[in-house]
């Protein structure tokens, strides 16, 4: 039984970690701006495309990987300055529409640059090596992802709890106006949020595309949405929540993808049911259930509406 489920569990943990890195970006931005940054999934995709092009130019990995991460963080910064900052005082719906517009623009831009063809992701030697864990063969990235995710998460939590910029972030997310009255430069704080979020999405893309090997302009949409669900599931605004939510979603998704084979091998079902179709649907069903049962998520704080 353990032998049958293990490969799915492993890939679930790995995908979960990658979702977690994206989900942190969503949850931080939502915590501060109350905005679902629909473009975040596309930033993740752009990081993948950047890696394809930068490594094709022949730069060694120890240059190209940091370069990709820096440019991705820069893109996040630019998006915020161009598309969200002018709408600071506008209704929330306009900002969300602007986010959708950015997502549309990024996808079309990549479509134009790549010609809409699948781009093969370069292999990163260390993390794409094959290893064997308890008899299940998998890539090194499966082990690296959860470890790296946890390290980055702990680093981020420390940053938020013990540094000046972290304190400013917490203050802004509590009350926008009061914190600006207290002398916090809101725009810098928001930019920092976007830079950190995009940087993590860049790290996520390195790991994710090592697993999936091809990038196309739409490949950010689904992971983006799922990471958002993970953020909501864990309680939006909470970083550990987003990570836990992402791992749960990653594991569930991967197990559902293999559910047919698992059930078949365990002798619980006689035929293939085609349940793998529902691996995406499951995530969203989970979202709807969570929103109805516990809208604040696992670790979220309770908020009240003021008249």
């Amino acid at each position: 039984m353990f032998k049958t489920i293990l490969p799915y569990l492993l890939s679930g943990i790995s995908v979960g970690g990658q979702y977690a890195l994206i989900a942190i970006g969503y949850t931080m931005v939502y915590g501060i701006l109350r905005l679902i940054n629909f473009a975040h999934g596309d930033v993740f995709m752009v990081a993948g495309i950047l890696m394809v092009y930068i490594s094709a130019s022949g730069l060694p990995l120890y240059v190209s990987i940091p370069l990709v991460l820096i440019i991705t963080a820069g893109i996040g910064f630019l998006i915020e300055r161009v598309a969200y900052k002018p709408l600071r005082s506008a209704p929330r719906m306009s900002v969300m529409i602007s986010a959708i517009g950015v997502s549309y623009t990024l996808q079309n831009l990549v479509l134009y640059i790549t010609g809409g063809l699948n781009q093969f992701y370069p292999t990163i030697p260390f993390i794409s090596k094959s290893i064997t864990i308890f008899g299940a063969t998998t890539k090194m990235v499966t082990v690296v992802t959860p470890v790296l995710t946890l390290i980055l998460m702990i680093g981020l939590v420390l940053l938020i709890n013990y540094t000046k910029i972290g304190m400013a972030m917490r203050a802004v997310s509590k009350d926008f106006e009061t914190s600006s009255l207290m002398g916090i430069k809101i725009n810098n704080v928001i930019s920092a949020t976007f830079v950190i979020g995009s940087f993590l999405a860049g790290v996520g893309s390195l790991l994710y595309f090592t697993n999936y090997t091809t990038v196309i302009q739409t490949s950010g949409a689904m992971p983006g949405l799922k990471a958002f669900v993970a953020a909501v599931f864990g309680g939006i605004g909470s970083i550990p929540g987003a990570v836990v939510g992402a791992f749960i979603i990653g594991i569930c998704e991967s197990v559902i993808k293999g559910l047919d084979i698992i059930l078949f091998k365990l002798g619980l079902s006689k035929q293939m049911m085609g349940l793998a179709t529902f691996s995406d649907a499951f995530t969203f069903a989970l979202l709807i259930v969570i929103l109805i049962v516990k809208p604040t998520g696992l670790f979220g704080e309770k908020t009240t509406d003021k008249v």
């Binding site: 549309y104 049911m273 929103l291």
Partner: protein
């Protein structure tokens, strides 16, 4: 938002309304005449047909997002349900074996005429909307948006499920059902006598949009707008929030379903995987460009949107020469880049869109003193 109420209280024969009616009638006549004299393969008709479909879907989305203030992103899901309901019930019995080749000819062994099938498509979408609305409509703004978006994704994967293949043909496409071209009147030799393939989508969309406009001018419509402007005061004035939100959601989905069925007729086939969230985003952008809260705006912008994306900006996708100079950057996909930049400019700098919250008759009226300066803050 006093404008619509002002309209209501006017006497029936308002010259502005009369002029608007004449303009709309002229558009229909022009479409009919053009269709008879121009070759049916002209790009114009492709654009007009698709735009008519999008206009209906955009108006239905506007009813929800612009007039009721419920930010829903489930439109593609409801269109999918409508398109499938239409496809499943209108494929001629003789063709079913060919379409459902992997599923022994499918489950449904009868076919309906086009118009009842369109209504059925709408009803199917509305029924789903009712069920999904029960839990989801309790959510607020962006949570509602993401839940409805999730719902659309769920619908998409359910319709591709192999086990439902008897009904939905699994992940294969539905085809061979009546399309817009079947509206053309043919003589005994099979030659087309009167072209109606562009006029009919206009008529169907027109009737549906007219129904929506009438709804908006009824007491229900005013309740919707009251909910949008302030939920708490609307409730205090005795409007049943849950009931009205559910109503708006179902009605909007009904017309999205009809729109989905028309999209199926336009594209001659239905496949679940084409109804992605990107489609919802496109429709949302149409609504935004036209002006959130303006039916006229949604109609105009869907024509502009479709014409730009399918036709007018096509030249950007090919190499262009000016004399001996080759214009740089022009190649496949550049059209979409230019297009998205235009959209971003509208979203960022012209947030009211083309029409703001004005309607066609308002253009022929003298400015009411009440409206000045307040337009932008209406949301």
């Amino acid at each position: 938002m006093t404008k619509n109420i002002n309209n209501m209280q006017r006497k029936k024969l308002d010259p502005a309304v009369l002029i608007s009616a004449l303009i709309i009638a002229a558009v229909y006549v022009a479409v009919f005449v053009l269709e008879q004299i121009m070759p049916p393969t002209s790009m114009l008709f492709t654009v007009l047909k698709k735009a008519a479909v999008y206009a209906l879907v955009a108006v239905s989305m506007n009813l929800l997002n612009g007039f009721t203030g419920l930010f829903s992103l489930g439109q593609a899901g409801f269109m999918l349900i409508g398109a499938y309901a239409y496809g499943i019930f209108t494929i001629p019995v003789a063709q079913r074996a060919a379409v459902y080749q992997y599923y022994n000819g499918g489950l449904v062994q009868f076919s309906l005429p086009v118009i009842p099938a369109l209504v059925l498509a709408g009803l199917a979408a509305a029924a789903f909307a009712f069920l999904i609305g029960l839990p989801v409509l309790r959510l607020k703004s962006d949570y509602l948006a993401i839940a409805t978006l999730g719902f659309a994704e769920i619908v998409r994967s359910i319709f591709q499920w192999d086990k439902l293949g008897m009904l939905t043909n699994g992940s294969n496409m539905l085809r061979l059902f009546p399309t817009f071209n079947d509206f053309n009147i043919k003589n005994a030799e099979g030659e087309v006598v009167v072209y109606l393939s562009t006029l009919m989508p206009f008529v169907i969309a027109g009737v549906c949009i007219a129904l929506i406009v009438m709804l908006l001018h009824s007491s229900y419509g005013r309740s919707f707008m009251a909910i949008r402007d302030d939920e708490i005061s609307a409730e205090a004035m005795g409007i049943n929030l849950a009931k009205h939100k559910q109503l708006a959601f179902c009605i909007s989905s009904f017309f999205a379903g009809v729109g989905g069925a028309m999209l199926a007729m336009y594209s001659n086939s239905v496949q679940a995987k084409s109804f992605t969230s990107a489609m919802t985003y496109e429709i949302l952008l149409i609504v935004v460009i036209g002006g959130i809260g303006s039916v006229t705006g949604s109609c105009i912008s869907s024509f502009l949107f479709v014409a730009c994306s399918e036709w007018w900006l096509r030249f950007l996708d090919q190499k262009q020469m000016i004399g001996n100079f080759e214009v740089p950057l022009l190649r496949n996909g550049f059209r979409l880049v230019v297009f998205s930049v235009i959209i971003m400019v509208v979203v960022l700098f012209f947030r009211q869109g083309i029409m703001g919250t004005k309607e066609l008759p308002d253009l022929f009226r003298k400015k009411l003193p009440k409206k000045t300066g307040k337009e932008g803050e209406a949301k």
